[in-house]
């Protein structure tokens, strides 16, 4: 492969130089009228030969560069895939270990009470695996499923997410605040799937509740910023280390601070996927020891996007 390439690159140059030499050496002073022509032919073959060589090298160089970029993309995707598989393996390992231990207890325990306990534990672990499978399916489906586009009343949605958060365990040990602007005008509606958007805000609130400590403050606010509606969930929690911040959106990622906190590890990945399916973005800012703010930016108004998929909506 490499040899052919060198041959292709150098052949025109060598042929050019050879022809040029031939024309120069066969110079015959006695035939004045063709001397110039021969000299010109020599220069011409030299230029054409070297030019073709340069062109071939340039083309091969570009091909190499494109190939390298492609390889890097593949390697990155492969690395992401390996990371996902490692995390999935980890998520499966714990419940499976618990199930095997539970089954051993079930067959070997002498007392009924111990067997009942083992049975309950096995059942709880299988439910955990079912939830993991359900969340993985949600994530996979979000990429392709039809996203409903109906006008969504943001304040109503935030009130609902907020009242759901208030019902969560641990909510009464934290200060929860909701602020929605009324002035100068109420928030415009956004086009989207109300259930998915509620799920996104719910996941952010749920996440904030899980990662903060009793006494911390949690705020849910929203405002209009140009053509976007911005929804923020801010907390005075422990914060996320800089090196972990880019990874929290990844599927099944668990930061050091997240170990031991229950959850599928897919909540924020779902938030990001929902934001993207609504042509929006999900971002975060965090300072260690001070707190974190998660931000959802969603296009406001009734503008329809090119990429949207809608089901046939009945017409009047």
């Amino acid at each position: 492969m490499k040899t052919t390439r060198w041959v292709v690159c150098l052949a025109p140059g060598i042929v050019g130089i050879g022809l040029a030499l031939y024309f120069f050496l066969s110079y015959d002073a006695s035939h004045d009228h063709i001397v110039y022509l021969r000299a010109d032919l020599g220069v011409l073959s030299l230029i054409v030969g070297l030019g073709l060589t340069a062109l071939a090298m340039l083309i091969f160089g570009l091909l190499d560069w494109a190939e390298q970029t492609r390889q890097e993309t593949i390697a990155k995707a492969a690395e992401e895939r390996r990371r996902f598989l490692r995390r999935l393996d980890h998520e499966l390992k714990n419940p499976l270990t618990a199930i095997r231990a539970g089954l051993a207890n079930l067959t070997e325990s002498p007392s009924d009470a111990a067997r009942r306990e083992a049975l309950a534990s096995v059942e709880a672990q299988t439910l955990r695996l079912s939830r993991l499978s359900a969340d993985l399916r949600k994530l996979a489906e979000l990429e392709v499923r039809l996203v409903e586009r109906s006008p969504v009343d943001v304040p109503a949605l935030l009130h609902e997410a907020f009242s759901m958060a208030q019902e969560q365990p641990g909510a009464n040990e934290r200060h929860l605040n909701l602020s929605i602007p009324q002035a100068p005008w109420p928030l415009p509606k956004i086009q989207g799937d109300p259930d998915l958007l509620l799920l996104a805000v719910h996941n952010l609130m749920d996440n904030a509740l899980k990662f903060t400590r009793p006494g911390d403050t949690l705020e849910l606010h929203a405002f209009e910023d140009g053509a976007e509606i911005v929804i923020e969930v801010a907390d005075t929690g422990p914060g996320i280390p800089d090196d972990e911040q880019p990874h929290v959106w990844e599927e099944l990622y668990r930061g050091v601070g997240g170990r031991g906190i229950p959850g599928s590890g897919l909540g924020l990945a779902l938030v990001r996927a929902i934001a993207e399916r609504h042509n929006g973005r999900a971002t975060l800012r965090s300072r260690l020891g001070q707190g974190t703010v998660f931000t959802l930016r969603l296009p406001a108004g009734l503008k329809q996007s090119v990429t949207e998929q809608t089901q046939p909506v009945p017409k009047v």
């Binding site: 039809l146 109906s150 799920l199």
Partner: protein, 238 residues
């Protein structure tokens, strides 16, 4: 004593059939097992089961193809599909192709028994199920399942796609107690933390559009603490 209803359980995973078959037997059914689509078609022809529980993803002949062949051959044995495909469109397709109901894997085996009993109760031997009909009516309410249009007293209603799917499921499962979790699974394909509220919101939307009084319902009745039931009489239209 009535004879036990016979079920043909079709799944290529022996781990599933080995565990489900005894469970169904204990629940009062006569159970036969087939491990692929071809075997299922043979056993339907020879054994005439009262109902099929059919996995969708199988080698050789998949569940969807078995369903299609049976229905095309005029066989209306009730079929419950076990699907791993959560996509709402796929689920709607399953019903349009003449399945009587479906259940997403992984499921609670008690839920499977409840679905089987509901399907058997609703089944009219030898006749197409409501879910095989393209147009359904309940009084002046008409649902066109192909165009997803809903007419009330000949006026077309504006409904969100999910409200239409909800109505479709209620209309194809009349007089049956449907839990909020079941409706979530049907319309959204997911269970979610925000779920049961989402169902209530859509039911409220339907009631507003249908002018249905929850206190004296003509269409959708609330069963407190359990779910909803479609109380109107549903007919098929040509």
């Amino acid at each position: 004593m009535q004879p036990k209803p016979s079920i043909l359980l079709v799944d290529d995973e022996t781990a599933i059939t080995d565990n489900l078959a005894p469970f169904l037997t204990r629940s009062g059914f006569e159970v036969a097992v087939a491990s692929n689509g071809e075997e299922a078609l043979e056993k339907v022809a020879s054994g005439h089961p009262d109902m099929l529980v059919l996995d969708v993803l199988m080698p050789r002949l998949d569940g969807r193809e078995v369903l299609r062949r049976l229905r095309q051959g005029g066989n209306w044995t009730p079929i419950l599909l076990l699907t791993q495909i959560g996509e709402a469109g796929e689920r709607a397709m399953a019903l349009e192709e003449g399945a009587d109901d479906y259940l997403n894997k992984p499921f609670d085996p008690h839920e499977l028994v409840a679905r089987i009993k509901a399907v058997l109760r609703r089944a009219r031997p030898g006749q197409p199920p409501l879910s095989a009909s393209n147009r359904l009516a309940c009084g002046s309410l008409i649902l066109d399942r192909v165009s997803h249009r809903v007419l009330l007293s000949e006026a077309e209603l504006t409904l969100t796609p999910k409200a239409v799917m909800l109505l479709e499921y209620m209309l194809t499962h009349p007089d049956e107690l449907v839990s909020r979790e079941r409706l979530l699974d049907v319309v959204w394909g997911w269970d979610y933390p925000v779920g049961t509220r989402a169902v209530d919101t859509r039911v409220a939307e339907l009631r507003r559009a249908l002018d249905d009084d929850p206190g004296a319902p003509r269409y959708i009745e609330t069963i407190p603490g359990q779910g909803y039931r479609f109380v109107g009489k549903v007919e098929t239209l040509p």
